[in-house]
């Protein structure tokens, strides 16, 4: 039995979507690792409120991976790949990274 070979363009689109989803995944993982480093740098006790930026970065990183997976699934099912629909995610990730970086800067300057 032979299976239908998908057109060249279809495969390129699929691989492109996969690369983009992986880029989001790596960014999510990066946020999680940076959040972990923040918590480690803030030191014990780990229930303290000063760990909030680190914990938040880890949570956002995890959420990003889930959202990227859902978006990838939506794009794969879509007949016409969406364009420019990620403005919200881009703005959110940018804002989270800026706020997190600022918190890290404060942590180093205040705590050393």
């Amino acid at each position: 039995m032979t299976t239908r070979r998908p057109p060249e363009d279809e495969r390129r689109v699929a691989l492109r979507q996969e690369r983009t989803a992986l880029a989001w995944d790596r960014t999510g993982l990066g946020l999680m690792v940076a959040g972990g480093l923040f918590v480690r740098a803030a030191g014990p006790p780990y229930t303290d409120v000063r760990h909030a930026p680190g914990v938040a970065a880890m949570v956002v990183g995890g959420a990003l991976i889930v959202l990227a997976y859902r978006r990838y699934g939506r794009l794969r099912r879509s007949a016409t790949p969406e364009s420019g629909g990620s403005a919200g995610m881009v703005a959110a990730v940018g804002a989270v990274t800026v706020v997190f970086s600022f918190a890290a800067l404060l942590l180093i300057l205040v705590r050393g």
Partner: protein, 151 residues
């Protein structure tokens, strides 16, 4: 208040309200106004949108690596002379990451805006900024190690 948004020569006016005070809501609105308007120009080819998005994400990951590196330097490096040098190095790296993260969003928005309006992409300044920033941090680190020394 009218703010000019430039995309390599192309100028667009974005009308925003003058904020009375700098609350989180105002900051959020300002941040959101950086994202490209979808009512001007046309939707760019999705391949270019994806490529722009992946480039933005690569810059964000670079920023996160710098912030993570700064935290590690401030925490794990042996004490340098003078005593504040370790913190200063860490803070420099984190500041570089902070600036990179903020700039990469603007860069993504300008690229998207240029593509929507069929304009050439704005000249890339981030690689130069990154090279100069990391170069300065490296020079400071070498200077501190050679003339200060680890304690």
């Amino acid at each position: 208040m009218t703010r000019a948004f430039r995309a390599n020569g192309g100028t667009r006016n974005l009308t925003t309200r003058t904020p009375t005070k700098m609350g989180p809501l105002v900051l959020g609105r300002r941040w959101w106004s950086l994202t490209p308007r979808r009512d001007v120009g046309h939707d760019p080819d999705y391949r270019f949108s994806f490529a722009n998005e992946r480039t933005f994400l690569a810059w964000i990951r670079t920023a996160l690596a710098l912030v993570g590196g700064g935290l590690v330097v401030a925490q794990l490096l042996p004490d340098l002379s003078p005593g504040w040098a370790r913190q200063a190095l860490g803070a420099l790296l984190v500041f570089l990451g902070l600036a990179l993260a903020a700039t990469s969003v603007v860069r993504w928005a300008r690229n998207e805006d240029a593509m929507r309006n069929d304009l050439p992409l704005p000249p890339p300044k981030l690689p130069v900024f990154m090279a100069v920033g990391v170069g300065v941090v490296s020079a400071v680190a070498v200077f501190l190690l050679v003339f200060g020394g680890a304690r």
